[in-house]
Every structure is written in C-alpha cells, then in structure tokens.
C-alpha cells in the first residue's frame, strides 16, 4: 500500500489487494491457525470446523448489486447462489441451510420484494438449499440505495477442499465461459449497445461440483469461484497461497462472442470480470480427463475446458500465453465496476 488509508474507498470492497490488506490488518490480525478449524486467518471462501469425521462449513456474503434486477438474474438469485457456491467450493455440496437477512430502504416496492423472493425460492429449489432463519431491517428513505441482502450458509463436507492445494503439473479447469456476469451487469447498468445479448451466468454450482468430486476424488486439489476480480484474481490468490505459478493459454479461455465484443468495446479484459456461475478446479494430471468429462456431462459444465496448468515458477504469478508471446496477468486493485454482486 502506498499510503495509509484513512477513508474507506470502493477498492476496499473489490475483493483484491486493498480489501485483503484491510481485512488482514483490521479483522484477521488476531486470527491464528488452530487445529480442526479453518478460520479468518485462512481467508478462504468460508470457515470450517471439524466435527467428528466431517467438516461443518460456514460462509457469509452480503449482496449490494446495482441494479438489483439484471439480465439473467437478480439480487435474490445472486445471494442464494453466492452462498451455495462458497459452500460447494469447500466441498459442502449439500447445503444444510441458509440464513437470509434483508435490509430494505423505506419505500422499496413490495412487488420488487416479491420478485426477489421468487428468485430466492427458485434458486433454493434448484440447489436443494432452504432458508432456515432470517432478519428484516428497514432504513429510512435516502439512507440506503434499495436493498442489501446477506446470506450465511451451512453445510457438511466429508472431504474439505481448499483454495491452496495446487502443485506444478496440475490442470486448471474452468467450468464454462468467463466474464458473463460482470459484463451483463455493466452493459445493463450503462445501457451499452450490444448489451442486450448478454446475460449473467449466476447459477448454483453444487450439483456440478458434486459430479466433479465424484469423478475426481482426492485428485481435485483446490477449487475457487472466480467472482469479484474474475479468473485473474482467483488464480493469483490460489497461486500465491500454494507457492506455484499458473500458465494460462489464451486460446483455451471460453468467452462468448457477445461478451468478447462488449469487453473489447469497453477495453476490459474478461479475465478480470466477475463470474457468478463458474468454478476453477485444480486437478492432478492423471484424473484431468475424468473430471473434465464429468463437468461436461452436467448442464452447467458443457463448455468446461482446461485453461492452463500449474508451473513451478514464477511463484504466485499468473502468466498468459497469447500464442504470440507471454504476458503477466495482474489482478486489478481497484474496482472495475462497484456493486457488481
């Protein structure tokens, strides 16, 4: 960090270096590793507590997306899927239950709340999740822009999957096309030409992940969902935590033509854009074909691809092979788009 941050800035909520610094220096400063507990010190997708021969996984996420309704989803679907996916990334593919806390602005339309509720119910039905408990608060007009949702989630994992188990040689699989969520919200918010063709990919990944785990078992070394900061940030974090490098092949990155067109128009790299229905898996080379086949056999994984491999060096870096040369993929420190999720 260049200077002490005496005021919170948008980048502190962007999921990247500024946010990590804030969390590490403020909230995780006293957190210590403890046997049988994956806690705040791990800065993983969630926490886990060993109970007998299982792990109880516990995650939380607040959602502030603006606008709350966007092509392909809304804040309700996002909240349920975000939490279901965080549980799944740690190996808890059957959610035990979610909490749902609403903060609403006075004057928020009841019909909009009903739409959000319908999406929550649909996403719960899709994922097998259920809302077990909740809370409702209302802030005065002008004190909150619309609605904030928080969901926390619980689930058991028989095998805990982390985001730091990468070894040189591992294949990096991505379960489908990248950049869809962020560019759909961006195009919709700014009324961009060509944006009508874009849709968020927001979806619950627990079924897809369960299929991959069934096919790959212990060969699935790590998983992470590339949300804020996109595939770039997720891979930088996985590489950094694991002490390896990642070499991506640009030609292998699945990007929809409409997403590519809008990304080029905006001068934004789809690697840096948030996804809400995709997962990255690091898989030991021998099981790569079996896992890829299992992913592709699932409706949410038809476009799954190996996008790269782990390498010994440079440690903690992600390098993109463009076919013409190589460049470093740097995670954004700032916010490409605030309130993306």
């Amino acid at each position: 960090m260049s200077a002490p941050d005496d005021k919170i800035a948008l980048r502190h909520g962007a999921g990247g270096p500024a946010m990590r610094h804030l969390v590490e220096t403020l909230f995780a400063r006293g957190a210590r590793p403890e046997p049988g507990v994956i806690g705040l010190d791990a800065l993983d997708d969630g926490a886990a507590i060993r109970l007998g021969d299982r792990w109880l996984v516990f995650t939380t996420d607040s959602h502030v997306v603006s606008p709350p309704f966007f092509p392909g989803g809304d804040i309700g679907r996002l909240a349920v899927c975000g939490t279901v996916n965080d549980l799944a990334m740690m190996g808890a593919t059957e959610p035990l239950g979610l909490s749902l806390a609403l903060v609403l602005e006075e004057g928020f339309a009841r019909k909009d709340l009903e739409r959000v509720r319908d999406s929550i119910e649909a996403a719960c039905a899709e994922s097998g999740a259920r809302i077990l408990t909740g809370d409702t608060k209302v802030m005065g007009r002008g004190e909150l822009d619309g609605v904030v949702l928080n969901t926390a989630g619980l689930g058991f994992a028989t095998r805990l999957v982390r985001d730091d188990g990468l070894r040189p040689g591992d294949a990096i699989l991505c379960t489908g096309t990248i950049g869809d969520h962020g560019l759909a919200v961006m195009a919709h918010r700014h009324g961009l030409e060509g944006g009508a063709a874009l849709r968020s990919d927001v979806a619950p990944l627990n079924g897809l992940v369960a299929a991959a785990l069934a096919a790959g078992g212990d060969a699935i070394a790590a998983m992470k969902d590339p949300t804020r900061g996109g595939v770039a940030r997720a891979l930088v974090e996985m590489a950094r935590k694991s002490g390896v490098g990642v070499l991506l092949e640009e030609a292998a990155l699945p990007v929809r033509p409409a997403v590519r067109a809008v990304a080029e128009l905006l001068g934004i790299d789809p690697l840096l854009v948030a996804n809400e229905g995709k997962a990255l898996l690091a898989v030991r080379p021998a099981q790569e074909p079996a896992v890829l086949a299992a992913l592709r056999a699932h409706p949410l994984g038809r476009e799954a691809a190996r996008i790269g491999r782990c390498v010994a060096e440079p440690v903690g870096r992600v390098v993109l092979d463009t076919g013409f040369g190589r460049r470093l993929v740097v995670e954004p420190d700032g916010e490409l788009l605030p309130r993306i999720c």
Copy 2:
C-alpha cells in the same frame, strides 16, 4: 392489516405485527414444520437442526443502528452481542463461531472502523465467541448511511429452549432493568436533556443464561430477549405462541430512575423500548427461587426480578397490574425509533 402494503415502510423493520405479516406472507409462506428442524415457520430467535443428541443453533441479524456509536456501546458490540444472545436464548450458551459481513459507505473513516473492530474483539472476548469468516462490501458515497453489519452465529444446545413453552403459573423473570438501550440511543440521537445519564445495556448474556440453565434445568420453559418492541412485544409473542396470558406487576418492573425520567419526558412506555442486554425467562414455579438466585449471583443479573406470572386467560394477551387497576399492554405496530439496533 388494513390495506395491502405496496411499499416497504419503517414499521416493516420494527419487529412487530407489520414485520411478522411481511415475513409470514412473503418468506415463510412455504415453510412447513419438519421433524428435527426448527425453521422459518417457527419465527423463533433462530433456527435449529438436530444433529445426534444435540441441536445446532443458527441465527442471523443485521445491524443498522444510527448513530453507530452511542453511550454504552456501538454497532460492533451490538452485532456480536445480538447474535450471541439469540444463540443463548435457544440454549446455545457456548458460541461455536460467528460470521461478520461489513457493508461500508465509501468515505467511512478507518479510525471509526478500528473502533468498531475493537468493540467486536472486546465483545468476543467477553462472550467466548470468535469471528470465523467474513465479507466486505463498499457502496458509493450517498448509497448507504455509514455502515451495516451482519453477524450470523452457530452454537450447540444440548437442550433446546424455545419461546413458546409457557404454562399458567410460570413465573416471568427479567434479568435486569428495562428500556436502557432504546432510551440511551434515543436521547443521544436527539440530544435530550437528562440523556447523558443513560447508557445502553448491550451485553452478551450467554454466561448469565448458562448460570440460569444450570440452576433451573428443564424448569426454564422459555426464553426470549426483549429487543425491538421491548418487553411488551417479547411477552405478547411468547403468550400468543404458548396459548396463555401474562399478568405483569408494574411495581415489580425494574426501571432506572434516569430511564424513567427520559421516558416520561418523551411519553414513551419503557415496556415498549428495546433492550440489548436483558432476557425474559418463563420458569416453572417450584424452581423460581433457585433460578432467580442464580441470576442475581451473576454480574449481569444483579437486578433480576420476577415481573409477572403466566395466567390461563386472556390467551395471547399481556395485562399490566398497576396497583390501581389493570390495563392491556399492546405491542407497538409502528417504530418508536427507527434504526435502534
């Protein structure tokens, strides 16, 4: 309800009839009782899932208090205590862990966030709780008034305590003085004369509740913390769910003189005002003395008192014996003070 509510109003976040109606018609409409699960249909302080011979209790609360710093506490202490207390009210007096999700306004001062963090750490130390996982989002300037915190919590209860086990003859115990939190925030926010003497009672009650449960065991029929809507709302809800009435003795209600003075100035009944460090216990008559003695032996229960008794009729009603006559205690439908917690 007199008319369909097409817009969200402040009373929808007040914890009373309007909020119950909103939650019941929107979010709990599909919730059904299920063996081994206390879910959304129960509208209790939290959810519970039977795991072997224990119950895993799961709660969530968002905190929006304004201002975030007030005499006796701040939003950080409130968030930890609110969740620790919801767990304790269901019998989970040793929190397994909390999640902490921050939503911050761009420009929020880092030193204020450090104060909030310090309070969170202090309240965790006091209650034996710990933050296991978290989330940070930032909204643009003017999109959020300061800060919203969400905490979810987990804990095990060997005996699950509910809010609906009242029987005629049960004693209603209150663990201390009433009205302190709400009137302290109110006086502070409005700069009221005499307000300087008031302090919020915000405190973690799990130790106090553990002492009461050790003394009373199964004779503690029900517990609830009288937060939004105060003792009035909590008792109306307990009476309604249990199919009994409650007869309160006005002379027995513990109210600090400074609280009484400000309440009289404002024309507000302390029975309707939020508490953040008090619990109501319904206790079978034979064990009342033992439980009351255990409460009074704890630093947070020195002013514990029997404030009334359960009666067979009128069902679902709370009646106050003033010494001169009797009057019905009606829970407020609206908000005495928005953003009290």
